[in-house]
Amino acid sequence: MAASEQPVEPSSNIPDYEFMNLNSTPFHIGSFRDEWLKRLKPEDFSFQPGDQDLFEARFAAAMGVGEETMTELRSVCSVNSLLCHSGDQERDPEVVPPNTTLKTLIHRKKKNNKTQKCTRNRHDLYADELDRLTAGRLPDTKANQLPEGELILTINIYFPSSVEKFNHLRPHTTLLMTGSHTLAELRDAVCCVSDLQVCGEFSSTPDMAPDFMSKDLFKSAYFFFEGVFYNDMRYPECQDISSTTIDWAKSHNYPPFSTAKMEDTRLVDLKVKVGFPYLYCHQGDCEHLVIITDVRLAHRSDCLDTDLYPLLTHKNRLMTQKCSVCHVFIGRWYTTRDQFAPSDPCLFCDKCFRMLHYDKEGNKLGDFLAYPYVDRGAFN
């Protein structure tokens, strides 16, 4: 357990702040992982719980301390030394104790007294829900277990630029991914409503609408990290949609950009900055900011089941618009020039839409235009 002297290492693999408290310098993720594994002993990042006796024996041997010193250390440095109140005084964790000198508590009491109005923020209530469900989950089979020394990246995907609210402030989803995942898997994990959009007028053929989702029609997408466009080329329909930007940049004297394949690049192969916004573009013009907020080694309290990764730990929910007839179900059809509708345009849920506009046989009644509508809160 003796701390060893460290040789001088190339500083490019050790991330540091580029702009103070904002983002880091670019670093290669795989090399960063190797740097940590060089410095740590296998028991530091193993998933096995530590054994107290073994630890003490090792410590005594390494430091050359005798049994009496160990006993003294054990008694003085125990967790019981941190108990501030005797066992019978059970403190209510939700109440600030009276007669306190700590400024934190005085400040908290003032804050608690101020906000008397009930701001039950639903986002906050459910913020940790997903985390709680999956933390510490063990896999069914050994083969599915996360290997020790694996990297976990926390990635924030933000709302698409077409949504006016929350564009830069609140992430839409937070995903946890392992280092060995490819960018294609990250792409598949991103849920955006624009993927489900159906273009076209379907008043005569309402049942055919689900067959024409944008997800199936426009499969091209790219990620942009540090001057490289990673294109999705898995399907024959995929095109290199980043070529437009690259050609434009060449003609406007920007530094040259390069391309790579999304499905061939794993997250450990990337060279990125932590905390710096990057781009994910799909459907041609639906752009999302992507920020990698954290990169760290896996820990035993994480979800260890690889089947559950990419893991969704946080999802921001959007208000949904309801049907204008029943106000219960989410609107699925958007009609214009509709003689039956109270307003133009108007939203209907599937049931109300069919009840109002079609007869029992499914024939179209009246004159209207109907478009399938995907609500922004479809992923709530």
Partner: protein
């Protein structure tokens, strides 16, 4: 029918609720890195620890119990807020565990990490984040402790490592490209390690100012035609001060040298120089932050940012704080370049399907008419 009325009424209320809540009141998952009242309490604890002139854990835990410090976690009803607070508390403790603080304060920081980790109320404990850049400082600290035979320091650290209390991370905090709203941290002067205070003195332009004041004083004396031997200070005290400082630095360097020889061929980064460069870096960042006190609004997010560069070896250099030009945000500039004006769309989407109001027909009619006019406006805007 009545049930749907009720449901739609409550749905309507939620509409109003969410409309009314501004973005600032919603707490974000990624908060500020530190919490001011907590930092004050921690500094109080560490000051008391420092005044005891001891690095024993028993002394620390006595102060902890006396201040009833584990109560800092009480009083929060909200689980996610509690988790955020735990994260902030641990980050505060790690801050004092790392340079440029003095050895005793760093020991206090380590004990604090141990204390916060074991007294936090969260059922799945929040872990202590150790960044890769700080690993060498930690190792040096442990070596010093081992040489000084502070067994309790080592025991506490290794116990934390054995209980797997650490997350080995890239950066010390979660970074989301959001500027910190709190004022930049002011280094507590008493906590700095003594070797580095002189570095700060040298890099802050105090000596130059003193020399300037001295020459001004001489000029005033000449103008007032006072005899030259009347002197409040020694005439060359600034140069003598500088000389003393340089002597100290060269002594420091010499003291650091034998360590390198003992390592036997392996090149070790000079701890003094490393700490001093870090101190210089911190003092320059402090300078920049003191000279630019106003906080920038969200729309001016793309202003010049302070870059955390490394310094050249000449220690006198201090960067002048960058002048902040007020220029428009990137978005505004792009819109201007593209020749379009930034019109916000007037459509209020939530009006497209309006819920029934509980009180009578007139409201309903009005809202539908409003929706229709909105639609017309949108149509005209194209």
């Amino acid at each position: 029918m009545r049930n749907t009325c009720l449901v739609s009424w409550t749905a309507g209320n939620w509409f109003d609720f969410f409309r009314g809540v501004s973005l600032d009141t919603m707490p974000s998952f990624y908060t500020d890195f530190f919490n001011e009242p907590l930092t004050e309490d921690v500094e109080e604890l560490l000051t008391r620890f420092q005044s005891t002139d001891s690095v024993r854990y028993g002394v620390f835990s006595a102060i902890w119990r006396e201040m009833k410090f584990s109560d800092v976690f009480l009083g929060t009803t909200n689980n996610s807020e509690m988790k955020r607070f735990c994260r902030v508390a641990l980050a505060t403790a790690v801050k004092y565990f790392l340079p440029p603080h003095s050895y005793q304060i760093r020991v206090g920081g380590l004990y604090l990490m141990f204390a916060f980790y074991h007294t936090q109320p969260a059922s799945t404990p929040v872990l202590i984040r150790l960044a890769l850049q700080d690993w060498s400082h930690v190792q040096r600290f442990l070596t010093e402790s081992k040489e000084a035979e502070h067994h309790d320091v080592l025991y506490i650290y290794h116990k934390l490592a054995a209980t797997k209390a650490f997350h080995y991370t890239a950066m010390p905090h979660f970074l989301t490209f959001q500027k910190q709203k709190t004022k930049p941290e002011v280094q507590c002067k008493e906590f700095l390690s003594k070797a580095l205070v002189l570095e700060e003195l040298q890099s802050a332009e105090i000596l130059e100012e003193m020399a300037g004041i001295q020459s001004h004083y001489e000029k005033l004396k000449e103008a007032a035609q006072v005899r030259v031997d009347v002197n409040i200070t020694h005439p060359d005290f600034t140069s003598r001060l500088k000389q003393c400082m340089n002597e100290f630095f060269s002594w420091q360097q010499q003291r650091a040298l034998p360590k390198e020889k003992n390592v036997g061929g392996e090149v070790d980064k000079d701890p003094v120089e490393d700490c001093s460069s870090r101190a210089r870096l911190l003092s320059s960042i402090k300078q920049k932050s003191y000279s630019n006190v106003h906080t920038t609004s969200k729309s001016r997010r793309h202003r010049e940012l302070e870059k955390a560069d490394s310094f050249s070896s000449d220690g006198e250099q201090v960067q002048k704080p960058p002048r902040r030009k007020t220029h428009a945000s990137l978005r505004a500039r792009t819109w201007k370049n593209l020749g379009k004006t930034d019109e916000k769309s007037n459509t209020k989407i939530w009006l497209l399907s309006t819920p029934e109001q509980r009180h009578g027909v007139p409201l309903r009619k009005m809202s539908q008419a409003a929706a229709y006019t909105e639609y017309k406006v949108m149509k005209e805007a194209g």
